[in-house]
């Protein structure tokens, strides 16, 4: 059976308090006992970035189990996950009633351990290490299957790319069910660097106070965070230990890359734009801080061990970005039965992103298909259109970074209630999905909505 120890001995700070090595060791041992099973099992870690959650994740990998990561899902989302993947064990906050099909079987540092009453008939493949859900906020869960080899390879690549070492101190600035967030944890543990466990958002004042107090050396954040930090005049002056800020999770405007590059350079550190995908474990490309100004707007070159190329570039040199490397996922999983599969996906990933190469550096230009990414959330326009269908025909088209126009047929007031519902469920601000009314949606000869014409309407 495969198993993984990411690094020598994991060290954590719970907020500003250093977690004693004995506590960590005892927690890992308790988790190993709690998840003891005759065969390889799936452990759903639903608590997130706290000590029990992180130790449960590490213990699961150490036992050769697989971990399904999801931070504090709502009851409906949790039940959908339990039904789809039938985890043998679940770690949750322990406040609500025990879900059907499970019994409370113990506790781990204050979190609740649940065990499935009926053992699933379908096994878990020996190579499977982690399941990360990629979509299904409104619909059925779909997860990326990552192997032990995937995690180890990408951690090593990123460690080399960013020059992380045991003297660094990371912080869980992103949720662990976000591949970028999990990668921040894995990369630090891989080099024996401690990690500050925090649930705070980098947009909160207290997050930066914690970074200052703990002496955080490097951190990762997504574009919206950098936009907000820019708008509030954030400066690294109070963070003498901070040497590196990196960014992934969608395109960052070149102006902002310059802004943070200058701020961090003045501070004696660097800013590193990166490009990633859950399907490639986490990160595929990086632009070294020293080369930032020369290639502003680019996400740089492939991480060590990976290769980037463009598939069928057009006359302007624009093609689909294709990545090849040891961090490309085993495949997807929608049901428990899929967990028995080994590699169903090659090591070549067609990202669905359009890009261009300039002087060896990659520029990401947008999504090839219709899939949207708003504020770091991956959405299918079809999901939103289905929600609005109660009021009438609607079509969603990407218009700008973090913005998609919702075209509706007829009086837009009729759509308002359903539109507000969508915003609430997806936790998106109105400006990310502006409503625009048209007398009739343009359609193709076959009767399908003409998305190309709608896209042109976005810009008039």
């Amino acid at each position: 059976m495969h198993a993984l120890r990411l690094g020598p001995s994991p060290a954590f700070l719970d907020g500003t308090e250093r977690v004693p090595a004995a506590t960590t060791a005892a927690g890992l041992a308790a988790a190993a006992t709690a998840f003891d099973a005759p065969a390889k099992a799936l452990v759903a870690v639903l608590t997130g970035r706290d000590l029990p959650g992180v130790l449960a994740y590490l213990a699961a990998l150490g036992l050769g189990h697989a971990a399904l990561l999801r931070e504090h899902p709502g009851i409906a989302a949790r039940d959908a996950l339990l039904t789809a993947y039938q985890p043998e064990f679940v770690l949750d906050g322990g406040t609500g009633p025990v879900p059907a099909g499970y019994r409370a079987s113990g506790e781990l540092l204050g979190a609740r351990v649940l065990a499935r009453t009926a053992v699933p008939r379908s096994p878990v493949h020996p190579e499977l290490a982690v399941l990360i859900t990629t979509s299904g906020t409104l619909g059925r869960p779909k997860a990326v299957r990552l192997s032990y080899a995937n995690l180890a390879a990408n951690a090593e690549s990123v460690v080399t790319a960013l020059g992380l070492g045991p003297a660094d101190l990371g912080i869980t600035s992103l949720p662990l069910d976000h591949s970028f967030g999990l990668s921040v944890l894995n990369t630090h543990l891989a080099v024996g660097a401690p990690v500050v466990l925090s649930r705070l958002s980098p947009t909160a004042r207290r997050f930066w106070q914690l970074c200052a107090r703990a002496g955080v050396t490097d951190l990762g954040a997504v574009p919206i965070t950098y936009r907000l930090l820019h708008s509030t005049g954030w400066r690294p002056a109070g963070l003498p230990a901070l040497r590196l800020a990196y960014q992934a999770g969608g395109p960052l405007e070149p102006g902002l890359a310059r802004h943070f590059g200058e701020l961090m350079a003045e501070h004696g550190g660097g800013f590193c734009p990166m490009y990633g995908a859950t399907e490639a474990t986490a990160r595929m490309a990086y632009l070294p801080p020293a080369e930032l100004m020369e290639h502003l707007g680019s996400v740089g070159r492939a991480v060590p061990g990976g290769r980037l190329r463009l598939h069928e570039p057009d006359r302007d040199g624009v093609g689909e970005i294709v990545y090849q490397g040891p961090n490309v996922m085993l495949g997807y999983a929608e049901h428990r039965a899929d967990l028995a599969e080994g590699r169903t996906h090659g090591d070549v990933l067609h990202t669905g992103d359009l890009g261009r190469l300039e002087r060896g550096m990659l520029y990401v230009l947008g999504r090839k298909d219709r899939q949207l990414k708003l504020y770091g959330k991956r959405l299918r326009p079809e999901e939103i259109e289905q929600r609005l269908a109660v009021a009438g025909p609607a079509a969603v088209v990407a218009a700008a970074p973090d913005t998609a126009v919702v075209f509706v047929e007829g009086d837009r007031e009729r759509f308002r209630a359903a539109w507000l519902d969508v915003l609430r469920i997806l936790e998106l601000p109105a400006e990310s999905l502006p409503l625009r009314e048209v007398a009739g949606l343009p359609r193709t000869a076959s009767g399908k909505v003409d998305l190309g014409r709608l896209r042109m309407l976005c810009h008039v």
Binding site: S201, T203, A212, L228, S231, T232, L420, L423
Partner: protein, 192 residues
Amino acid sequence: MGRETGTTAPKTASEPRTALQALIEQTLTRHPGVREAAVTPDGAGAVVVLDEMYGPLEIREDLRADLLAAGHPADPAVLSVSTLPTGRPDSVGELAAELGEFASLSRYEPAGTELEAALADRLAELLALPRVGALDDFVDLGGDSLTAVRFLTALQAEFGAAVSVVELFAAGTVRELARLLAERALPADRPA
């Protein structure tokens, strides 16, 4: 620092302290986030040196709650500095002006309009705070991007006006946000 004028010249520490002054100083020094504190004679302001995990707004609110619990409904402004001035300050406002960017002043300003009051109430509810002042900064209050989205979604439903997350962070205060909202009437079709 070091510029002395007639009004900001600090009083010497040997002058007798008022009862309120002493109570505020005592309350402040018991706070885990306060390293040192000095209070103006009228009790209207306090100068504090803070632990890096705390901000002046939090101290201001905790101080008010503690004073209220002790039977003294006072509401001192709090000025956070890196080192205490020698002697007791007369007015934190003047000291803040003198120190410029090296100090951060937090004082409670009640909502001035109905819209400001409504926004302050919503925000207090969302962040589980007893009150929010018109000049309190969203991030200082403990707001982050997730609470911002929730807050703005509620505003959209209630006021029908769209403000972006970036605009909220840039506006910072209830007063600025109210100004922004008042400028906009139902622009749901405004492409961002």
